[in-house]
Amino acid sequence: MTAIVTPRRAARPGGPPGFGATVRAEWIKFRTVRGWVTGMIAAVVVTALLGLFAAGSAHIGCGGALGGPARTGAACLPAVATGPGGEAVVDSYYFVHQPLASHGSITVRITSLTGKYFPAGGPGSSAQGPAGSAPQPTAVNGLQPWSKAGIMIAASTKPGAAYAAMMVSGQHGVRMQYDYTHDTAGLAGSVSGASPRWLRLTRSGDLITGYDSADGTHWSQVGTASVAGLPSTAQAGLFATSPQYLQISNNELGGSSGSSGASQATAGFGDVRLTGAAAGRGWTGQGIDTAADADYPVQGGGYRQAGGTFTVTGSGDIAPAVPGPGSTFPTATIEDHLVGVFAGLIAVLVVAAMFFTAEYRRGLIRVTLAASPRRGQVLAAKAVVIGAVAFVAGLVAAGIVVPIGIRMTRAQGQYVMPVSLLTEVRVIVGTGALVAVAAVLALAIGAAMRRSAAAVTTAIVVIVLPYLLAMAQIVPPGAGDWLLRLTPTAGFAIQQSIPAYPQLNVPYTPNAGFYPLAPWAGFAVLCGFAALALGVAVFLLRRRDA
């Protein structure tokens, strides 16, 4: 048990102890208090257990009554198409197409875009019933903001295929979209007989360029898309689609209920010119992923050709699928499994605040400052130690609960929004970083306030309470968004795995997992608070007598 201790370089007499020595000293202080180590381990365990509880508490049933035999669990997993990037997509539309070689173009004039929608039932009934199987709802005339019609070059007619498209939309003017997640604006204004829109797509290998024009002679380029994996014979043609009609109403209790239904868009095309098409092939009309048991509300479709003009009617959407009220089937996100982080975080915040306030309880601070008189350095060393420990705790907890939780959730028949590996890593590592920075914030609050009860309460209230107020919609949504921008809670944005796509008309609410700030921006807000608190703490530490 006896060991000869040779002084490290940092501890050599003659010079002041270096930062490394102070960090080592603080690390020894931390690991020799059993309660703190236990607290950190408890944080990991609680985070994992709560996450798995939340994952395991879902009971999905499907089928029955109209949809065949009742099923539960994994048998209920919806067959959701995934786009080229691996993301879940909705890919339902009507497509009038013919094969296109690796070099060619398609040009059209669009003269009209009209639509109607089918509000289903009253509030509370989410119109998940496929069109046709339920009593026919009455139609209301009107376009959806993101009803769209135009031209498309697609890798194939399979749902989730790679594509690029130029289109007119209900309220967002001309757009170029490709591979579901990309969206570029073109000419503004809506289309009509008096102000038609000319659209063009040219293909050169994998590279597709989109142009628009208001007169058919003056063209401007809207954007280019490199569509990977486009086969030498792709499908080019006209499409129309219209996303679900969605109305969300908030109730008094802070919850919300939505009513939704299918919608249809009909577009008039003229001057269809196709170059690079295989000779002797005509147009084929096809509803893409519009089967009756589709997971997205659709309402028929078709096309008419009269000479050079086409009328195409379609229903559905060509867009990424998102969780929350906009989703038409039960979904979970990978970060749903991280709900336990709040419990773990509270334990971490308690330990972190005490890591400093305990110094004041019995006058230990005077010994500490006698050993390392540079007060800023002591705080920095403590921040390094608690930050590192908290990072590991958060990383381990998230690293356990996310992969296992995803499997459990899927096994129960709940669809988990797929994300790229990079995103999953960002969510897991980001959780570690979030816990670490929150711990440093709590430490700094502890150093500034010196009293454990007040420091712990402040840390929890500034980090957790805003989340609760916003998520449980205790304050109105607008106020909730500001809470999630301006308080340390903003840091939780780092856990958001599905981005809020602007090309979808769905409510991106906090409790559906959408934060008003981008992941790293939100995290930066939390870091800003931690830095501010550290600054105030150093100032007070230097100014006050120990």
Binding site: E252, D336, R451, M471, A479
Partner: protein
């Protein structure tokens, strides 16, 4: 008992902490209520499903944290200095000491809570009509003469007092103030957070029925009572059960453990 009460009362009024915490609890409650009320508006021509009474009492969510600190420090403060041994030397009946502390915390919180709740309601009464919640829109000005509003207001005051007792019990159990506060805020805040991500509505409802805060704050609802996870008074009863359980466990440990 009266000696214990007088001793504890002397302790409370001879340090500045408790008084400041009570002032802070009132200020925080009113401030958050004012913010919540000011951030809410009802644009003309739209139906606003807002429970104006509940909105005006939003501040209780924050005020309860300060009430919890006060109650925790009444016990943990003595443990951290070691003064608890002097207390138990002067008053060897430990349960009596806990009871005396409970009586005083309850009394102080009831007084401060009344001010805080009235402040919140006053903010709602003054600000909300200017934000579209006017009589013309079908929103009556907030008034305690309205039965459900009176119930929500009185219930919120009782809610704060029960939070104080719950905190006292937890502090008697864990003794350390930081840990006690952590446990209490976790108890309060975690149930609703876990409930929001629980996908099964049945579990979600159960969580809201047993969570001390989610159940207790059902007392604030004046509209949509039918869709509440638990009825107002039953919800307050759930919180009462939590407080009673914590006090019981705390008292038992206080008696069994060496001081």
């Amino acid at each position: 008992m009266s000696r214990m009460l007088r001793a504890e009362w002397t302790k409370l009024r001879t340090t500045a902490g408790p008084a400041w915490l009570l002032v802070a609890a009132v200020a925080a409650t009113v401030a958050l209520s004012v913010l919540a009320v000011a951030a809410t508006s009802c644009p003309a021509g739209s139906g606003c499903p807002v429970d104006t009474t509940k909105l005006s009492l939003t501040g209780v969510q924050l005020g309860q944290a300060l009430v919890a600190i006060l109650a925790v420090l009444v016990i943990s403060g003595e443990y951290s200095t070691g003064m608890i041994r002097i207390t138990f030397t002067a008053l060897p009946r430990r349960l009596g000491v806990l009871a005396a502390k409970g009586v005083l915390v309850t009394g102080l919180v009831l007084a401060a809570g009344t001010l805080a709740v009235l402040g919140g309601l006053l903010a709602g009464r003054l600000i909300l009509p200017g934000h579209g919640f006017s009589v013309a829109h079908g929103f009556a000005a907030l008034s305690l003469a309205h039965g459900p509003t009176l119930r929500a207001a009185a219930g919120s005051v009782l809610y704060l007092a029960l939070i104080g007792l719950l905190s006292l019990g937890v502090a008697a159990m864990v003794r350390d103030s930081a840990v006690a506060i952590g446990v209490i805020l976790a108890l309060l805040y975690l149930f609703p957070i876990v409930a929001t991500v629980t996908s099964d509505p049945k579990w979600q409802r159960h969580l809201e029925q047993i969570g001390p805060m989610t159940a207790g704050l059902a007392i604030q609802a004046t509209t949509g009572l039918r869709s509440l996870p638990i009825s107002p008074w039953a919800g307050l009863g759930v919180l009462g059960a939590w407080a009673a359980g914590a006090l019981l466990a705390g008292g038992l440990l206080l008696r069994l453990r060496d001081a």
